[in-house]
Structures are given as structure tokens and as C-alpha cells.
């Protein structure tokens, strides 16, 4: 059972059912006992009234005149209220006019004792109260009798049945009502968790890098921990990049010194050349691995980034770098074009490609970006001679340059391709309408 609500609901339902059943049984028992007691008392009262009016002749005849009977029902045949008197042997010595047959009792009470029980003669149920007594006549004769008062149990049972019906109906209704209320309580009680889930989704899909808002005391620690985790995630990435940057700095200065020594005229050309080559190779390896590691790649918590400011910043910087050539960098990107990409990655990607375009083009570089179907499309054009036909696939490989006469690391396109792949995007090299090179990139914007 994976849902908190289902767990709580199931537990509550079982508890509720047990409670309802126990309550029902207890209530029913109590009420039925109370009803029996009332019946017992009524029959006892009747018994006293009958005994009060009874007479015993000296020869032992039990007499009770119909006109002195305390209840009219005792005189009507088959009325449902009966009385009879048995002698010591169990023979009927008197019966009320209402009783047509005799009543069989399994046992008779001792003298002075009351016996309350149900008997079941021929598809009927009778509630009986019997009383054992001795009667001493004035002549000193001693007779042993049992008075039995009985009432038809059917009306009584019917009443109990009705009571039971009402009882269980009410209990079921209240159980149902309680379950519905419980459901609402759970909805309300668990709503902060739903809110948390929504906010987490927002963190994933929007600029927020924190879960905002107040939560109940039980959830707040979780929220705080999540926020700490988000911050740590960010901090760890920054630390990692800084460490790599420091590594590069600490290695590159010594490499620069060695590179300068490689020009030393005291060395022969056969010594200088391998020195230069090895250093260049070291530098390429270092750069490639650094770029790869520094590329943040797709992170689930990254915020959408506006593309235009990054491209414009690069255009300003590159205009300075290419001031000698007077290269013009033009950015055609609407302000609302945003994509989920790390700023360092985007700067690296665009910088590399714009630099390449300036290097191989002829003074004009155009950058365009737009969002279509949740994809960010980037286009970098130059006005040079375009890529060679077979160069296109080849160029994306590491360290290959189409035009080796130009300076540069030759890693540019490979680095760009690496970044694009880390975002599960695609990159293609084509020609633009005017004939220059065009690099097209599609990246998932979300």
C-alpha cells in the first residue's frame, strides 16, 4: 500500500468497523437484557397479583376465580398471556382460561425461587416466569405448587427486531458519515504534502532554486533539508569547477614558460619541434578535459536562462577581440527566448562558435535563436566560404581543423558538439543562403 491516504483510510476503516460492531453488539445486549428484566418484573407483578387472589381448599384444590384475574388477557382464550399452576408432580392443577394447552417446562424452580426462561412449544416462543411455593392450609396441610406465568414472545421479538434494525441502520449510517469525514480530514491533513510535491515540481521547472512557503512542523524539517540539499548541489558544482579552474591555472603558467623556452635559439630545431608539439598536445588534452568537466550538462534543477543577454555580451567582447579586422557581430534574438541551460555552457557554446565564425568568415557574424515546440534553435552564420562538403562530419571530431592555416585550438567545434550532446541536443553544419558557414543547434528548452 503505497499511498499514505490509503493506509490511513484502511486503518481507520478497520478500526471504525470494529468499533461499530462492538458498539452494536453491546447496545443490543444491554437493551435486550433491559427488556428481559422489564418483562421479568411485569410477569413477577402478575404472579403476585395471581397469588394474592388464589385460594387452596383443605383437600388441596387450587382455586382462582376468572373474575378476580388481574389481567383481562388471562380470560381471553389464546390471548398470548397465560398462567397455570402445577402440583409437586408437575400435573396441572389450574390454568387460566386463556391457556388452551398445557405448558411443558424442563425444570421446576425450588420453593421460593423464581425461574425466568423461554420455552418453545409448537412453533411459538413463550417467555415464562415460574415460582415455586408451599401453601399451608388452616387445617395444617402442606401443599407444594409451582405458578407459571407466560407471555407470547412474538410481539416482544418483533419489537426487538425493529430496535435492532434501527440500531444497525443508524450505526452503519454514522460509520459511512465518519468515513467520509475521515476522507475529508485526510485530504486536508495531507494537503501540505501535495503542496510540497507541487513546489518541488516548480523548482524543477522554474527559476526558483528553493522551496518557498511555510509548512506544518512535521514537514518543515524535510523542506529545510531539501533546500539545504539544493543549495549544496549548487555549491558543490561551483566548488568542482573552481577546483578545475585552479588546476588549469596552476598548470598553464608553467606550460607557458616551457612554451617560451621552446623558442630558445640555443636549442636545435630538432629539439624545439617535439617540445612544441608535446606542449601543444598537453594543452589540447588539458583544454578538452577541462571543457568537458566544466560543461554543467543538463541538471534537473537548472533555471531557464535568457539567451539574448549572453549572446550580446559575447558580441561586445568579440568585437573588441576582432577590432583589427572590424568584424561585425549581429545578434537577432528576442528577449523572451529562454532555455534550461547553464550560463557557463551557453557562453562557451556561443563563444566558441561565434569566435570560429569570425575566424573563418569575412567580417560578418549573425546569431539567431528562437523557441519552437519546446526546442531552442540556435543559428550562427558567417560570410566566409562555408564548410567543405566532406568536412562537415569530420569537423565535429576532436582536434580536426578544416583550415589548418588559421590559429586556434581546432577543438572549437568538438567542444561545442560535446556541450550540445550533454544536453541531448543536435548540431549540424550547413551553408547559409549567402554561401557562408552555418552552424545549427537544437537543444531541449525545458
Amino acid at each position: 500500500m503505497n499511498s499514505l491516504r490509503a493506509r490511513l483510510l484502511a486503518a481507520t476503516a478497520v478500526l471504525l468497523l470494529a468499533f461499530i460492531v462492538l458498539t452494536g453488539v453491546a447496545l443490543e445486549t444491554a437493551v435486550s437484557e433491559r427488556a428481559d428484566q422489564a418483562e421479568h418484573d411485569r410477569l413477577q407483578g402478575l404472579s403476585y397479583a395471581l397469588l394474592g387472589n388464589a385460594e387452596i381448599t383443605d383437600d388441596g384444590n387450587f382455586k382462582l376465580a376468572p373474575r378476580v384475574l388481574p389481567e383481562a388477557d388471562l380470560t381471553r382464550p389464546d390471548s398470548g398471556l397465560y398462567a397455570l399452576v402445577l402440583d409437586a408432580e408437575g400435573n396441572t392443577v389450574w390454568r387460566s382460561p386463556s391457556l388452551l394447552d398445557s405448558i411443558e417446562l424442563d425444570s421446576l424452580p425450588a420453593v421460593g425461587e423464581w425461574q425466568f426462561m423461554r420455552v418453545y412449544p409448537k412453533n411459538a416462543t413463550l417467555i415464562t416466569l415460574s415460582f415455586g411455593f408451599r401453601w399451608v392450609t388452616e387445617a395444617g396441610k402442606d401443599y407444594r405448587y409451582t405458578l407459571v406465568v407466560a407471555e407470547d414472545a412474538r410481539p416482544f421479538a418483533k419489537q426487538m427486531k425493529r430496535f435492532r434494525g434501527v440500531l444497525w441502520a443508524l450505526l452503519s449510517a454514522s460509520a459511512l458519515a465518519l468515513l467520509i469525514v475521515e476522507l475529508l480530514i485526510l485530504r486536508w491533513g495531507l494537503s501540505p504534502l501535495r503542496r510540497l510535491a507541487r513546489n518541488l515540481a516548480t523548482v524543477q521547472s522554474h527559476e526558483n532554486r528553493r522551496i518557498e512557503g511555510h509548512y506544518p512542523d512535521e514537514i518543515q524539517p524535510l523542506v529545510s533539508n531539501l533546500n539545504t540539499m539544493l543549495a549544496n548541489d549548487e555549491a558543490r558544482l561551483v566548488r568542482y569547477r573552481n577546483a578545475l579552474g585552479d588546476l588549469a591555472h596552476s598548470l598553464k603558467t608553467p606550460m607557458a614558460v616551457l612554451r617560451n623556452l621552446a623558442e630558445d635559439e640555443h636549442l636545435s630545431e630538432s629539439q624545439r619541434k617535439p617540445l612544441r608539439n608535446q606542449l601543444a598536445q598537453m594543452n589540447d588534452i588539458l583544454d578538452y578535459q577541462l571543457q568537458k568537466a566544466a560543461a554543467a550538462g543538463k541538471r534537473s534543477l537548472a533555471a531557464p536562462l535568457a539567451i539574448a543577454p549572453v549572446a550580446e555580451k559575447l558580441a561586445r567582447a568579440l568585437t573588441k577581440v576582432y577590432a583589427e579586422q572590424g568584424t561585425r557581430f549581429q545578434v537577432h534574438i528576442a528577449g523572451q527566448v529562454r532555455a534550461r541551460i547553464d550560463e557557463g555552457d551557453l557562453t562557451e557554446l556561443l563563444g566558441t562558435l561565434m569566435d570560429n565564425a569570425a575566424k573563418y568568415g569575412d567580417g560578418e557574424v549573425d546569431v539567431r535563436a528562437e523557441i519552437r515546440d519546446d526546442q531552442l534553435y540556435l543559428e550562427i552564420d558567417d560570410n566566409g566560404h562555408g564548410f567543405g562538403i566532406e568536412a562537415t562530419e569530420h569537423l565535429l571530431e576532436r582536434g580536426v581543423r578544416a583550415d589548418t592555416s588559421r590559429e586556434g585550438q581546432g577543438l572549437g567545434l568538438a567542444v561545442a558538439a560535446e556541450i550540445v550532446h550533454s544536453y541531448t541536443g543536435t548540431m549540424s553544419l550547413t551553408r547559409c543562403e549567402a554561401g557562408g558557414a552555418r552552424v545549427q543547434i537544437a537543444l531541449p528548452a525545458e
Partner: protein, 237 residues
């Protein structure tokens, strides 16, 4: 031309300084951010080469301060950080170009000379004035097509005068731009350099390329107006 080098690695600093001196620069150098900032603000510098990772104030801090103080000489960043984010940051802070370590010595020279020329309004690596041509890339001086041998100091004086063609340059300014801070100075020496330059550039004494303005300094006769900044030259690498 006077260059300032701020680089904390001793070996690299000395290599860069030696290279700059070979290229005809007077060089001041330090490995300290604090001292570098002082030099950058107080010395009459024509170009600064600044390493970004320095103890004390960083290279970026120095560049900010320099631009804040209204100084507009060109600044070249020497950096180990090759990420575009770092390059953009440096260029946005006020630097004019960057060279990523490790670099080819010729590339550094080319970038530095291009920056100096551009800052004076020249867009080509060759400075021309009348029939005098100074090729900064080759450090060669031609007069009417004939190569002329100059000493390092003579070259520096001529380069400075040509970059300021048509302007009056005082002896003090000349001294400041061709000598390093701790060098022995004697403004009379300038007169000697100028006299020798005149003899070499104009042996017949007919064109008189360098005028003397009594009490104010010297002026190279403007034979060719410097180009506008948007030239068509290549980056020279």
C-alpha cells in the same frame, strides 16, 4: 613604447619582459597586485600586460581601477582560464584583448603591437610618415625603400614620435616612454638620440622629418594622416 607587465610567475614574467625588450619596449614589471596597481596608475604606460590570477588585488581589480581612473591605454589580459565566461568577464571589465596561456611568443608580440598601434589610431602594422616606414612587426625602418639600421633606443624614440605624428612630444614624455622606471635618465641623451635619428633618416638634411620646438619638445612632421580605427589589416598572426 613603455609596457607594464604584471605576472606573478617569475620565469614567465622574465620571459615576457625579455621578449618585449627585444621588441623595442621599455618594460616595468612586477608580480604583486598591489605594486602593479600603483605602476598602472602612476607610470606613463603605453600598454599593460596583466595576468588575471595575482596575489593581492586580482588582474580584474587592477583593470577596473585603471579604467575607473580614466586611463585608457590598451590592456592585454594574460590568462590561464580559457573558458569564454572568463574571457568575456575580462573584456567587459575594460581589457582590450586576451592571450591564453600557454601562448606562442610571436602571437603575444603581434597582439601587443596591434593594440598599441590601434590605440594611436593606426590600423596597419606599418607606420608610415612621408617616405619613412616603420614596420612594427619586423622592427625595421625604411627610408625611401632603403633599410636603415637603428639602435634600440633610437628605434623607441622614432616609434614614439611616429605614433604621435603631428603632435608635440616633450623630452620628458620621450624619456618616460623609452626608459624603464629604474633606469638612469638624462634628458640630454634624448637630444643625442634625436640628432642621430635625423642623421640616419635624412642624411642630406633636405626633408627635416623631425622638428624641434624650443622649450616644448619635438614633432614628427605629419606626412601621412593616421587611418581611422576601422582598418582592413589582419591580426598579424
Amino acid at each position: 613604447m613603455r609596457a607594464l607587465v604584471i605576472e606573478d610567475d617569475v620565469d614567465l614574467r622574465e620571459q615576457v619582459c625579455a621578449q618585449l625588450r627585444r621588441d623595442g619596449f621599455a618594460v616595468d614589471a612586477t608580480g604583486e597586485g598591489e605594486e602593479g596597481l600603483f605602476f598602472a596608475r602612476e607610470y606613463p604606460i603605453d600598454i599593460a600586460i596583466i595576468d588575471l590570477g595575482l596575489p593581492g588585488p586580482t588582474g580584474l581589480d587592477i583593470i577596473h581601477e585603471v579604467r575607473e581612473a580614466g586611463l585608457d591605454y590598451p590592456i592585454l589580459i594574460l590568462t590561464a582560464r580559457s573558458r569564454w565566461q572568463d574571457k568575456v568577464e575580462g573584456l567587459e571589465s575594460g581589457a582590450d584583448d586576451y592571450v591564453v596561456k600557454p601562448f606562442q611568443p610571436e602571437e603575444l608580440t603581434a597582439r601587443i603591437q596591434a593594440l598599441v598601434r590601434r590605440s594611436r589610431g593606426w590600423s596597419q602594422p606599418k607606420l608610415e610618415s612621408g617616405d619613412i616606414v616603420l614596420d612594427t612587426a619586423r622592427q625595421e625602418v625604411l627610408v625611401a625603400g632603403e633599410s636603415v639600421e637603428l639602435t634600440a633606443y633610437e628605434y623607441r624614440v622614432l616609434e614614439h614620435l611616429m605614433l604621435h605624428a603631428g603632435e608635440v612630444v616633450s623630452k620628458t614624455a620621450l624619456t618616460e616612454h623609452i626608459y624603464e622606471e629604474n633606469a638612469e635618465r638624462d634628458s640630454n641623451v634624448i637630444e643625442v638620440f634625436v640628432r642621430r635619428l635625423r642623421a640616419k633618416l635624412d642624411p642630406e638634411g633636405t626633408r627635416k622629418p623631425i622638428e624641434t620646438l624650443r622649450g616644448r619638445g619635438y614633432r614628427l612632421v605629419r606626412g601621412l594622416t593616421p587611418d581611422s580605427d576601422t582598418g582592413t589589416g589582419t591580426r598579424g598572426s
